[in-house]
Amino acid sequence: MVLSCLLVFYYNESSSIFQFGFEIDWDSYFNIHLSFGLDGISSLLILLTNYLILICILLSWSTISFRLTTHLAYFFLLQFFLILSFSVLDLMWFYVFFEGVLIPMFLLVGIWGSRARKIKATYQLFIYTVFGSLLLLFTIIYLYVTCGTTDIRSLYLIELPFETELVLWLALFISFSIKTPMFPFHVWLPEAHVEASTTGSVILAGILLKLGTYGMFRFLVPLFPFATKFFSIFVYVLCILAIIYISYTILSQVDLKKIIAYSSIVHMSFIILGLFSFNYYGIEGAILMMLNHGLVAGGLFILIGILYKRFHTRILLYYSSLVSYIPLFSIFFFLFILFNIGFPGTGGFISELLIFSSIEFLNPSILIFMFFGYLLSVIYSIWLYNRICFGSSNFSYISLFIDLKEDELSYLLSLSVLVFLMGVFPNYLCKLCSNSIFTFCLQFYI
């Protein structure tokens, strides 16, 4: 955590090249090198990774009842693969680390999952991701055979025939949209969330989903800029369908974790819309939303984990009038619901404002659908809070209510402070990634 703060502190904002770089000559005959480097976006994602992993490790002490040390070991392995994925500058090695993330995640959901259906959910997660990875591997092999390298700095300079770009774009897009996940490849996410432990859900929503959008930002759009422009309408349609259809789906859900999981899919669709807005502010908004969503979804899953630990159920129908019994929990739940909506003064507000304004600049008709989706997200968030915390009491079968403990309070408080800071001082984060976004825009869109 300290080291990642140092990375952000030492990062030179005025430079647009990859910093902190070093290279290991892995195989000079095949021209594959293990090169690492960071820009503003990857250093912020590494900071988010370390922060959430730290919270999960601390949380494991109170939530994991068996094989705690092995659980911690898998978390360290996950952190290792995530940091490597965010800092590697070679497509081949990115594929290796991207897949490596799946091993500890498979074990974390499969061993420490909460119910009997965890095995089915684990295999679903594995099969969906492996199918996407095969397409990614196909793209990498094709690029290596045609260009003779998999280093992204060299690949950025190579221009491919338009038809080839279209095919490779589709393969890479499906691969990353499964990981993100995007409609219609989102089926594995709610299942995995429901079956995973609280710490597993925090990491899954907070960081793993960001790997897909990071892949789009780092590889898909810069490598195939013409195909990106060509398919942009297709992406907008998919995102709008996801926002509206999934928001309606949330209104019919009864499992608390599923509600937050589906809400994550809606937020990821907003992020993809920002990335494909071909606009500086849209991309900036997408990056801010990636960071904000990591913190907010993490907080919401911690809150649901607390409820599950106390009452051993996540079914919405069993909860009502919690504000009378556990007021501190209700206050924090309300705060995180506001963060999820994107209330003014929070990080979500700034990011949504930037994405909405960039989409208005691009195509005002998309904005109408986005506003409708946003309205639905406000409705389901307030409905969820109202359903859990207010209404008549039906707790005749429970006599003991325990509010937030000191450790739980400290995790939630730290997450809330960070979201508020992001909302009040977004300038620091924007400045940190401004040069990389500017180079990104300059190189591919103008």
Binding site: L3, S4, L6, L7, Y10, Q19, F20, G21, F22, F36, L38, I46, I53, T69, T70, L72, A73, F76, L77, Q79, F80, I83, L84, S87
Partner: protein, 68 residues
């Protein structure tokens, strides 16, 4: 006795300062921060795996000894 104590302390502080200086020099190179950032979780992973296997061995030995 007192001189021995101060002599020991001076050596200890020199060694500690040397280690501190080495860490500062190591972190001065920005690439090393990223390298350390990558290696620390891996070291953590192997330490826990090692701890797990050692504690299992100790436990099994204790069980074996107590069984007699």
């Amino acid at each position: 006795m007192a001189s021995n104590f101060f002599y020991f302390n001076s050596i200890l502080f020199t060694k500690l300062f040397g280690v501190f200086n080495f860490i500062l020099l190591f972190l001065k190179n920005n690439s090393n921060i990223l390298l350390l950032q990558m290696l620390l979780p891996l070291i953590g992973f192997f330490v826990i795996i090692l701890y797990n296997s050692v504690s299992k061995k100790i436990n099994s030995r204790l069980i074996w000894e107590f069984s007699f």
